[in-house]
Symmetry: C3
Subunit: 264 residues, 3 copies
Amino acid sequence: VNPDPIITFTTDFGLGSPYVAAMKGVILAVNPRARLLDLSHEIPPQDVRHAAFFLRSCIPFFPVGAIHVIVVDPGVGTDRALLYVEVAGRRLLAPDNGCWTELARGASRPPRVTCLSESRYWRNPVSPTFHGRDILAPVAAHLSLGEDPQKLGPIVQEWVRLDLPSPTLEAGRLIGEVIYVDHFGNLITNIPRAAYATLAAGPVRIMVGNQEVSWRVQTYGEAPPGALVALISSAELLEIAITGGNAAQRLAARVGTLVSIDKT
Amino acid sequence: VNPDPIITFTTDFGLGSPYVAAMKGVILAVNPRARLLDLSHEIPPQDVRHAAFFLRSCIPFFPVGAIHVIVVDPGVGTDRALLYVEVAGRRLLAPDNGCWTELARGASRPPRVTCLSESRYWRNPVSPTFHGRDILAPVAAHLSLGEDPQKLGPIVQEWVRLDLPSPTLEAGRLIGEVIYVDHFGNLITNIPRAAYATLAAGPVRIMVGNQEVSWRVQTYGEAPPGALVALISSAELLEIAITGGNAAQRLAARVGTLVSIDKT
Amino acid sequence: VNPDPIITFTTDFGLGSPYVAAMKGVILAVNPRARLLDLSHEIPPQDVRHAAFFLRSCIPFFPVGAIHVIVVDPGVGTDRALLYVEVAGRRLLAPDNGCWTELARGASRPPRVTCLSESRYWRNPVSPTFHGRDILAPVAAHLSLGEDPQKLGPIVQEWVRLDLPSPTLEAGRLIGEVIYVDHFGNLITNIPRAAYATLAAGPVRIMVGNQEVSWRVQTYGEAPPGALVALISSAELLEIAITGGNAAQRLAARVGTLVSIDKT
């Protein structure tokens, strides 16, 4: 017997929200066997860029076949499309705002993108302010029952792309930025392991804003408590942290703060 | 094969609480097949009115058969009763404080209410401060195993009712109030679609406190960013929002803030 | 048919964390039938003592067989061990920091502790900053598939112990301390029911800091709103609360605040 299908949720609704609970109810009413899994409901309100980093950091670990519902949707009720996407073996339902396009980077095949248009899979009537409940949730449930994605609407070739910012290299100086601050205050940058490793093979100066990073380590425990350290994060990106402390607070750093690496 | 039974949780324990985790353990110890689902643990402490709005907003979407455990219980350990309720096809376990009675509104049949008295379904001993763990959780687990609700205790005809406040209509002026503020700061009022639609067929003035609402829209995206808009929420109630912003903060509005509609 | 295996999570990652979501994905990729259950992701960052109280308060309620993954790991990437523990019939995977040792108190058998060393059950490569995702999660998944724990690594006889502080008794005066503050602001102390009951059989004075507790009750509802009360918590420990209020805020009390009981 196959395991029951998995449907995950990533939203900006907040954890106490009846909106999340309503989506769970809608799915179970269509497919009582669906196994529901919260990924996050704490995406900052309408922060598509944050959602993009979040999805890039966790979706690749899931088994092929899970259905991921993403509701971070500043354009709800406008003519922005809702999409069903197959990308790098993963299946997502999301508004067409680019939150998923980082997942396509490096994939062996282009994504297959369907624009949801077949309203027979939707709740009726559809609230103009809650497409998560009335369109994405029931479509996810029907997919989890084995419905053919081709029936959901037409394949499309155009969609909104959101590229996380790339670091720049000028005259031996690499300039990146913080793209995510985790719960511990660790600063995750957009500088990939390879770019860092190439430069940091020799002596370098690493700056976060106007603060110099004094330690280069493999893991937090290698430096004394309170040290400002640079290391490769579990997301394979350069991370700046304070051992046993909160780097975002101490450096007043946040998403967008510049991080530079100079050869010395 | 039937799907395994679903038991949901709605509490005011907060998400980091060992109390929630203990209830999950108790249920699984009785019925290892139960499928557990968090609805919210962020009901404000002991706020039965908030719980009532929350339940009204999500329970109707669930399939018949799911068992919903609600632990918002300012009266724990006093002689307030604990109830098993069948209402509008839904099954709930909750303290007798009215948190569920909005679900009975418009139901085709009266609710069937059982007062939990049969202690053989409870943990022993029962902590006087945690009936959620020691009474509601094991009773939910036994129900999920197919136990006959009639064995839990006697049917009762009296219970605490909690009616969410109703708007009033005087001389063409409709006066309602905010009954819920969501995570985005949107203000959900107690004015139903029909009452709003009747008045708002013509020109009206909508006030939130002493602030006039300038836009009437179907969805947020119809007005420019920062506009104060009135629309019908996904809960079929009048909602006041700021497009791309937080209305509760900008208007200093909260539960109880008056909202009026005047013909002009 | 046996129910599908349960794997629970207790972490300090915070609820919006992609780290939690990644662990869920890793487990499901190894065992698509695993039933995942969040206990808490709100353990204060790197607060092993808090985790110890949390686990003591909920793990004993779970059925034998559930696998509990704990990731509160200030020593990640150092040479601290990662353990698989069978204690009092429960199964845990955790860093060797003592977070689980309170569960051994009063158990009929000594714990059976395995040091995880067999890297063929791990993800490859292992990130030095995220052993939760790359070691604990896949090991949990393999255990849930029925893998023999003996294959994970050698049995060890030494591990870090963390004893929650014990109250002291001098000249008829019992001095304990607050070890947990719950979501309602209730203060849970380290004074067990028996020690309290012995002293409190006669007239006593109970002090929290320099504030006298005026009521001794069985449950909150016995005292008028706003009363400062002493009672036995659902964890079988002395608890100080304010009925309908927040004792931690009103008394400026927190973990470590002294609580004394004097015969009078």
